[in-house]
C-alpha cells in the first residue's frame, strides 16, 4: 500500500496537523518509505494469533466511588492560553 497526496492530506486533516502543499511531496516520500519497510510484517503467519492487549495478563483494577478530586479550578485553568473567567475558550463554534 502506498500513500497518494490526497491520502496524506486526508490523514493530516484527521490529525488536525496543518500541512503546506510544499511539504506534501517530502512527507509523502517519508511516509511511503516507512510503510514500505513495515510491509515486511505481511510475511508473518498470524492465523489464529490473538492480538496483544495490554502487556500484562492482569485485569483492570477498580477504584471506589468517592469524590477525591476536582474543586481545583485555578490549577485546572492555570495553563490555559486564553481563559475567560472560569472558562476555557475556543474560536466560536457554529452548529
Amino acid at each position: 500500500m502506498s500513500l497518494d497526496p490526497a491520502t496524506v492530506r486526508r490523514i493530516a486533516r484527521l490529525a488536525r496537523i496543518g500541512i503546506d502543499e510544499s511539504d506534501l511531496q517530502a512527507l509523502q516520500g517519508e511516509l511511503n518509505g516507512i510503510l514500505g519497510w513495515i510491509e515486511q510484517l505481511n510475511e508473518v503467519d498470524i492465523d489464529g494469533v490473538e492480538p496483544m492487549v495490554g502487556t500484562g495478563h492482569a485485569a483492570l483494577r477498580m477504584r471506589d466511588d468517592m469524590v477525591t478530586d476536582g474543586d481545583a479550578r485555578d490549577a485546572v485553568l492555570s495553563n490555559a492560553p486564553d481563559a475567560a473567567g472560569p472558562f476555557y475558550t475556543v474560536p466560536k463554534v457554529v452548529e
Binding site: 496537523i17 510503510l35 496483544m52 502487556t55 490549577a75 492555570s78 495553563n79
Partner: protein, 494 residues
C-alpha cells in the same frame, strides 16, 4: 577525589559520615552544570537555586541523623516527568511554557527519598528519537569523542540523551529516563553509563508525559549498576493512579547486585547476530559471554524467531498510540496556541507550529495505520505479531534466566549522520525494541570501547518482574569489564 566523580553509593556513605556536606556535593554538580551545559545542552531547565535550597535542607536532615536513601543526592530529571511548579516541556515548542500543578509519581518517590533535582534534562521531542536531535531546545552533545577527533560532535543517543550526557559528564550523579523502544538503554550505551528499563508496570506512568502508553516505562540512568539499583528502589512501586501499575512487592535491588551467579542460565539469542554487525560489537558481546561463563553461568543458545519483526511492529504500535496520546495538545487547556478564526484552523495551525517534524511524521503515520480500511492490515496485524514476540520471550525464559545481547548495532554516531532517512535512524533501536514489545526488564551496561574509542554497551534482558537477575548479571559484567574509561568532556576536566 572530586565530589563529581563519586558514585551515589559512595556519596551516601560520605554524606552520612559528614565527610562533605550536601551543599558541597550539590554545589559541585551545579557548578559543573553551569560550566558545561552551555556546550552539552544536556539540560533544558536548570534549577540551581532550588537545588541549593534543597541541599541546605538535606544537610539539616543529615545533621539530625535522619537521612533518607537519597538525601542530598543531585539528580537530573528527564523533561518528560511533570514536576510541580517547574516548567516541563517534553522538549517541544508545544509545551514551552507549561508549568504542571502536579508532580509525577516517579519524581515524587525520589523527592520522598530525599533526592535533589538539579534540573530537567533534554530529550527528543515527546521522547521520539534515537539521537536527541529532535529537540525544540537544540541537540545534545555526547561528551565522548572519537579517538584523535576532538571536533566531531557525536549524538548521545535518545530519547533520554540529555540524561545520559549529564550523567556521563558528571553533571549529576544519576538521572531519570524513560524507555519506549530503547530510550534509556541506547543512550546509556552511547554515553558509557548504565541504565535499566524495568518491567512494564513496575514504575508508575502517572504524571509522565505519554508517548506510547503500552510501552512507556521509566527507569534510572547512572554510572554504575549499583547506582541504578539504588535509584530504581525509590522510583519503583505500585501506584493506584496508574491502571497498568502492577501491585507486587519491590525487592532489594541493591542486594541483587552482589548476588552470586553460579548456576544462572544465560541465553544468547541467535537472531541478534545480524549480518553486517561491526566486529568490535561482536567482540564485546563475545567477551560478555566469556565473563558470564567465568562467573559460573551456563551459556545457552536460544532462538527468538520473531525478533526481526520487532522494529517494524514497534513503528506501527508506537505511532498509533502517540497519534491518540498527543491529540490533547490542541491549544485549548494548556500549551501553545496559534490563534485562528475557526476551531479547526486553530487546531491545525497550533499543531503544525507546536510539533517538530518527527513528531508530526509519527502522528500522521499513527493516524494512517488506525484509519478505516487500514486498521486490520497494520495495527491489528502488528498487535498479533507483538503477541508472537512476547511468546518468543516466554519460551526463551523457560530455558534461561536472562538473555545477553549488544545494546545497539553501533557506537554513537556523529550529528548529521543517518538523518536523511527515518528508517535508517529507526534501526538504532533494533536490539532494544523487542524487550519493550514484550514488556520485560532490560538493562544496558558499559562493556568496552569501539575501535575508535567510543563506549559500547551490552544488554541483559530478564523475565517480567525479575529485575534482580538483570541487575546481578549486569553487575558481573561491570566487574569483569572494569570499565573505567571516562568521556572527554566531564566535570573533572577543567
Amino acid at each position: 577525589m572530586m565530589l563529581t566523580e563519586l558514585t551515589i553509593a559512595a556519596a551516601q556513605a560520605g554524606l552520612k559520615r559528614r565527610d562533605f556536606s550536601a551543599v558541597e556535593l550539590v554545589g559541585a554538580h551545579v557548578a559543573a552544570i553551569e560550566r558545561l551545559n552551555g556546550r552539552l545542552n544536556a539540560f533544558i531547565t536548570v534549577t540551581a537555586d532550588e537545588a541549593m535550597d534543597a541541599a541546605r535542607r538535606a544537610d539539616a536532615v543529615l545533621a539530625k541523623g535522619e537521612a533518607a536513601p537519597l538525601t542530598g543526592i543531585p539528580l537530573g530529571i528527564k523533561d518528560l516527568f511533570c514536576t510541580d511548579g517547574v516548567r516541563t516541556t517534553a522538549a517541544s515548542r508545544m509545551l514551552e511554557d507549561f508549568v504542571p500543578p502536579y508532580e509525577s509519581t516517579v519524581t515524587a518517590n525520589l523527592l520522598r527519598d530525599g533526592a535533589v533535582f538539579a534540573g530537567k534534562t533534554n530529550l527528543d521531542e515527546f521522547a521520539m528519537g534515537s539521537a536527541n536531535i529532535n529537540s525544540a531546545f537544540g541537540a545534545v552533545e555526547n561528551p565522548w569523542k572519537r579517538d584523535g577527533d576532538a571536533d566531531t560532535v557525536l549524538v548521545p543517543g535518545g530519547s533520554s540523551g540529555g540524561s545520559a550526557a549529564a550523567v556521563a559528564a558528571s553533571l549529576v550523579m544519576g538521572a531519570t529516563g524513560t524507555d519506549t523502544g530503547g530510550s534509556i538503554r541506547q543512550p546509556a550505551s552511547y554515553c558509557g553509563i548504565a541504565g535499566i528499563k524495568p518491567t512494564y508496570g513496575r514504575c508508575s506512568r502517572w504524571g509522565t508525559i505519554a508517548f506510547a502508553s503500552s510501552l512507556d516505562q521509566a527507569g534510572p540512568m547512572a554510572r554504575t549498576v549499583e547506582d541504578c539499583a539504588i535509584l530504581l528502589q525509590s522510583m519503583a512501586g505500585f501506584d493506584p493512579r496508574d491502571s497498568t501499575s502492577v501491585d507486587c512487592p519491590v525487592p532489594d535491588y541493591r542486594a541483587a547486585c552482589g548476588r552470586d551467579l553460579k548456576g544462572m542460565k544465560v541465553g544468547i539469542p541467535a537472531e541478534y547476530r545480524v549480518a553486517g554487525m561491526p566486529a568490535d560489537i561482536e567482540a564485546t558481546w563475545d567477551k560478555g559471554i566469556a565473563w558470564l561463563r567465568d562467573a559460573g553461568c551456563e551459556i545457552v543458545e536460544v532462538s527468538l524467531p520473531y525478533t526481526k519483526y520487532g522494529l517494524a511492529t514497534y513503528y506501527i504500535v508506537a505511532p498509533a498510540e502517540c497519534s491518540s496520546n498527543l491529540a490533547r495538545y490542541d491549544g485549548v487547556r494548556f500549551g501553545r496556541r496559534v490563534p485562528a478564526p475557526s476551531l479547526d484552523e486553530q487546531y491545525e495551525a497550533t499543531r503544525r507550529a507546536g510539533f517538530g517534524a518527527e513528531v508530526r511524521r509519527r502522528i500522521l503515520m499513527g493516524t494512517y495505520v488506525l484509519s478505516a480500511g487500514y486498521y486490520d492490515a497494520y495495527y491489528l496485524r502488528a498487535q498479533k505479531v507483538r503477541n508472537l514476540i512476547r511468546r518468543d520471550f516466554e519460551r526463551a525464559f523457560q530455558q534461561v534466566d536472562v538473555l545477553l545481547t549488544p545494546t545497539a548495532p553501533s557506537p554513537a554516531f556523529a550529528q548529521g549522520e543517518k538523518m536523511d532517512d527515518p528508517v535508517q535512524m529507526y534501526l538504532n533501536d533494533v536490539f532494544t525494541v523487542p524487550a519493550s514489545m514484550a514488556g520485560v526488564p532490560a538493562m544496558s551496561v558499559p562493556a568496552g570501547l569501539s575501535a575508535n574509542g567510543l563506549p559500547l554497551g551490552l544488554q541483559i534482558i530478564g523475565r517480567s518482574f525479575d529485575e534482580e537477575s538483570v541487575l546481578a548479571a549486569a553487575s558481573a559484567i561491570e566487574r569483569a569489564a572494569s570499565f573505567t574509561h571516562r568521556p572527554a568532556i566531564r566535570a573533572e576536566v577543567v
